[in-house]
């Protein structure tokens, strides 16, 4: 994306303007809720019982166990990325996904969730063999 943006604004992948990304520099605990008209970046964990609602993407540099709604204004193009993606419930745009009941098979690696053909799909964000982020 090579567009110029204002300091307080961001441009979504679909070209729409929104507020600049919100950085949350702490862990979100049960009962705490963040709503933002843009992307949300959490430098910490998101515990079960916490909630994030973002118009854009949600990136969690930690464990994600709460409820996240990315693309909350209807953007099915939004994504959710976490170092450990194990949310109670995931909503992206219009799609709601509940993970399987057991989490035993959650890989010890960052993952990205996005919508493809009306379904939430999850894939590894990084391939250990080349050590960099996979392209979307």
């Amino acid at each position: 994306m090579s567009q110029v943006t204002h300091a307080s604004e961001d441009v979504g992948r679909d070209g729409s303007r929104r507020e600049a990304a919100l950085y949350v520099r702490r862990t979100l605990r049960a009962g705490q809720r963040i709503a933002h008209d843009g992307d949300v970046v959490v430098l910490g964990d998101v515990h079960a019982g916490a909630e994030i609602r973002a118009a854009g993407d949600v990136l969690v540099f930690g464990q994600l166990r709460g409820v996240v709604h990315a693309g909350a204004d209807g953007g099915d193009g939004a994504m959710v990325c976490a170092w450990r993606l194990q949310p109670l419930q995931l909503r992206i745009g219009h799609v709601i996904a509940r993970p399987p009941d057991a989490y035993e098979d959650v890989p010890d690696a960052p993952e990205i969730a996005r919508v493809e053909h009306g379904q939430v799909v999850i894939e590894r964000a990084a391939r250990p063999e080349d050590g960099r982020m996979a392209r979307g």
Binding site: A30, G31, H47, A48, G49
Partner: protein, 264 residues
């Protein structure tokens, strides 16, 4: 100047009052002047657990309303030098005290005691806000159940917002047999979820029920596992490094303890 510690949980019935009473006993046994404050106004029972019910003349609400001086409302435990109780009122409700008044009371107490332990009511409303008002630190009591751990997490968030330094965790009513069978969350699971420091693990122990009914906290006498666990918490509050005993079946206990202590 003494330290004010609130004992809280969010969820009801997980062992706040039991913990307050036993920690008070254990701290006093270490020779520390300790005052227990029952902040559960309207549902007082710290006095009953301590067996001091029949000695109450004045209570916390009388103090803040100016009916008596703080000193007059304090009950000294005759069994144990250094342990005192400031009882809650039974006939009033939680709105009869404000956080500001509560802070005033704990400030006055800390001038005279080494430790002031405040027994918080369940919930996150006014009673909770009163209980944490004057606290320097918090101890969170949680049982190995999802609802209890979730409420504890909520409370930790509220304590952070109130700028009370990181709370420490007491896991209560642990049943090692059930943990081994995978029917109960382990201490590690709980610590992993809550991401706070652990200060105590208290096993499920019928002695708690027996001693509570007699009004003699388990920590008063030797020989109960829960009482022993509370004594360990008291020493950790003092800053001592006390290894965590693992509560296993008697047969395997020794080997497991050695592993815990890193001597095997």
């Amino acid at each position: 100047m003494g330290e004010v510690i609130v004992i809280t949980s969010g969820k009801g019935g997980v062992g706040k009052t039991t913990t307050t009473a036993n920690l008070g006993v254990a701290l006093a046994q270490l020779g520390l002047k300790t005052c227990l404050v029952d902040a559960d106004i309207g549902l007082r029972n710290l006095d009953v657990v301590l067996g001091l019910e029949n000695r109450i003349v004045y209570d916390l609400v009388d103090v803040v309303e100016g009916f008596c001086r703080l000193r007059q409302a304090l009950i000294r435990d005759k069994r144990l030098e250094g342990l005192s109780l400031l009882p809650a009122a039974q006939t009033k409700d939680k709105t009869s005290v404000t956080p500001e008044q509560m802070r005033g009371v704990t400030e006055e107490l800390r001038a005279e005691f080494d430790y002031v332990l405040v027994d918080s009511p369940a919930g996150i409303e006014q009673g909770f806000k009163n209980a944490i008002a004057g606290a320097d630190h918090a101890l969170i009591v949680a049982t190995p159940e999802v609802a209890s751990v979730r409420d504890a997490d909520r409370i930790i968030g509220l304590l952070e917002a109130a700028e009370i330094p990181p709370a420490r965790l007491i896991v209560n009513r642990l049943r090692p047999g059930m943990v081994r069978k995978g029917d109960m969350m382990s201490v590690d699971d709980i610590v992993d979820i809550l991401a706070i420091d652990l200060i105590g693990v208290v096993p499920e122990d019928e002695q708690i029920v027996v001693t509570t009914n007699r009004g003699e906290p388990a920590a008063l006498s030797q020989g109960s596992r829960a009482g022993e666990a509370y004594r360990a918490v008291a020493r950790r509050i003092r800053g001592e490094e006390v290894p965590f005993a693992e509560f296993g079946e008697p047969a395997g206990l020794f080997g497991r303890l050695r592993r815990m202590f890193g001597q095997a």
